[in-house]
């Protein structure tokens, strides 16, 4: 067992940052806390580290009650969004810090500390930079120093707060892949916070989607993407169309009845249909209900805006497929929908 949080609540003045959150982090997994800013994900992470105290609730770290423990007693590695490296120390000293501040009895001999630090620097591919100061490194390198520093104390749990948030897109992607590889090697129980759904889905074993201080859904990336538990999760994870519909006996009637799609949801009457753009198939048809209002191409993908009985539906398909079927602006088209999730209209 890794971490177990139950009934965690936290208020900052009038603002409810966390509202009775229950969560279990399994040993050895890489868990993502995903949500928009203000959803409470960072607060939850800081509570795990002991940098913040919850108002109510309990936290167990490997089966032991941990709320009474100070951050330094928890054996938790923390990586900050803006690295928080010690500016006046070299890379080597930064990574060695956690080993050097140990009480005299538990302290390793200096030679052993140096050996371990050098090994860690090789692991994060920064061995040649040992004598540099943080100001002399790029953002990606600094974040890897921060990671090595956190790993040096051999933490039971590694916590990362938006670890790639301050990096540019390319470095971010490389570092993400590299971190996944590192986790696969070391299997250290890890929790990372992100507001980037792509990052969460690509990197994590399980994703926790949060909103307004509550957990909306917990599941594998495939589960939360394919079967969102709420409209919030649906909209937060990837592009989605919202169309008004009426459900009767498991059949959703869209666009005033022009389109009928089976839905497995136990909803009856007026509802909102959630449709992913890539679940929409278009084909040219002069008699079809759709009307192509716009075409935008992004790299190899094409996004097509279709007018459907006064509502707008976005479809997505590969660009060459679009060229093949010859669908253009102003054409009428037939619309086919693979999957629909219907939620009651509020």
């Amino acid at each position: 067992m890794g971490l177990r949080l139950s009934g965690i609540s936290k208020r900052f003045g009038d603002y409810q940052a966390l509202d009775t959150v229950d969560l279990e982090v399994r040993t050895g997994e890489l868990l993502a806390l995903l949500g928009p800013s203000g959803s409470g994900k960072t607060t939850l992470l800081r509570i795990m580290a002991g940098l913040e105290q919850p108002d109510t609730g309990s936290l167990q770290l490997h089966g032991e009650e941990a709320l009474g423990l100070k951050p330094r007693e928890r054996g938790v590695g923390f990586v900050f969004q803006h690295y928080a490296l010690f500016r006046h120390m070299t890379v080597l000293d930064n990574v060695a810090f956690g080993l050097k501040v140990r009480p005299r009895g538990e302290r390793l001999p200096n030679a052993e500390i140096r050996r371990r630090v050098e090994e860690l620097l090789r692991l994060v591919q920064l061995a040649p930079f040992a004598d540099r100061y943080p100001a002399q490194l790029s953002g990606g390198q600094r974040q890897r120093v921060a990671l090595a520093r956190a790993l040096a104390i051999e933490p039971k749990v590694l916590l990362l707060d938006e670890p790639f948030g301050a990096l540019d897109a390319k470095v971010r992607k490389e570092l993400r892949r590299w971190l996944r590889g590192l986790h696969d090697e070391m299997h250290i129980t890890s929790v990372f916070v992100t507001h980037d759904q792509e990052e969460a889905l690509e990197l994590a074993d399980r994703v926790v989607v949060m909103s307004q201080g509550r957990i909306e859904q917990v599941g594998t990336p495939a589960e939360v993407y394919d079967n969102p538990a709420s409209t919030f999760v649906y909209e937060f994870l990837g592009q989605v169309n919202r169309l008004d519909c009426v459900v009767d006996g498991g059949i959703a009637a869209l666009a005033g009845g022009a389109l009928r799609v089976a839905t497995g949801d136990p909803v009856q009457g007026p509802a909102v249909a959630f449709i992913r753009p890539h679940d929409v198939t278009l084909s040219p048809d002069p008699e079809g209900p759709g009307n192509v209002l716009g075409v935008v191409t992004v790299g190899p993908q094409a996004r097509i805006e279709v007018g459907l009985a006064g509502q707008i539906l976005e479809a997505e398909m590969p660009r060459d497929r679009l060229a093949q079927i010859g669908l253009r602006l102003g054409h009428r088209c037939a619309v086919q929908i693979e999957r629909v999730r219907a939620f009651p209209r509020v």
């Binding site: 330094r72 923390f78 900050f80 928080a84 956690g98 501040v101 490194l137 104390i153 090697e185």
Partner: protein
Amino acid sequence: MSAVSLAEPVPLHRGGTVLMRPTIIPGFRLTLGITVTYLSVIVLLPLAALAVKAAGLGFGGLWTALATERVLSAFKVSFGLSLVGAAVNAVAGLLVAWVLVRYRFPGKRIIDAFVDLPFALPTAVAGIALTALYAPNGWVGALLKDWFGMKVAFTPLGIAIALTFIGLPFVVRTVEPVLQDLPPEEEEAAACLGASRWQTFRHVILPALMPALLTGFALAFARGVGEYGSVIFIAGNMPGVTEIAPLLIVIKLEQYDFAGAAAVGMLMLLVSFAMLLVLNLLQAWMRRRHAR
């Protein structure tokens, strides 16, 4: 491990001397010219006059004017006690800055304003107030005398107190902004890595504050060396014991020994300059170690 290499090299900043860099104020020559002229008129000219006056004595004359018991001990008192005052301020000023930056409490603005008072008060007023307070019949002086048999006014201790009083704002006001900018994450990172509060302070906070602390120390020290008004009342001015160098200059002036006064002034200038230079070099070295 992934196949992507992450070890992209970043060039070290190792610039040579750059004479001109684009700035928002136009005219390098013009601004440099004004700077040099201004410094010459305001700083260099009076100092040069001082040097010329002192040089009038000749080497032998300088030696006889300066190499006396009285001059040497006055220098020891002035520089030694200024160092003591600056050192006390470095510790206490850091504490005051810490409290003002890190805590919120009622009356904080007022305390903040108190810090600047030693700047604003005429130094003679401060000197008289301190003397009245610490004299053997003053409020604090009487208590110290009764309880510990300690004498403060008219001793070197009294001088140190006066110099501490006037130097406090320097340390507080130089450390405060740096402390404000210190990211709390560095302390949190240290805590997560297992550092105790003392270790965090000693190894993370203090090194970051050190350049500012040193600046404050240097300013407080320089102010203490030149201080006259607040010290002469509390010092007692016993030659060889509590006589400060600036007072010696005044005494020489009153005796119409202008060249002798200039000689003492010149020596003070040289010693101060040397010490400030050392402090500046130390600071430059520290800044270079973690330049942003």
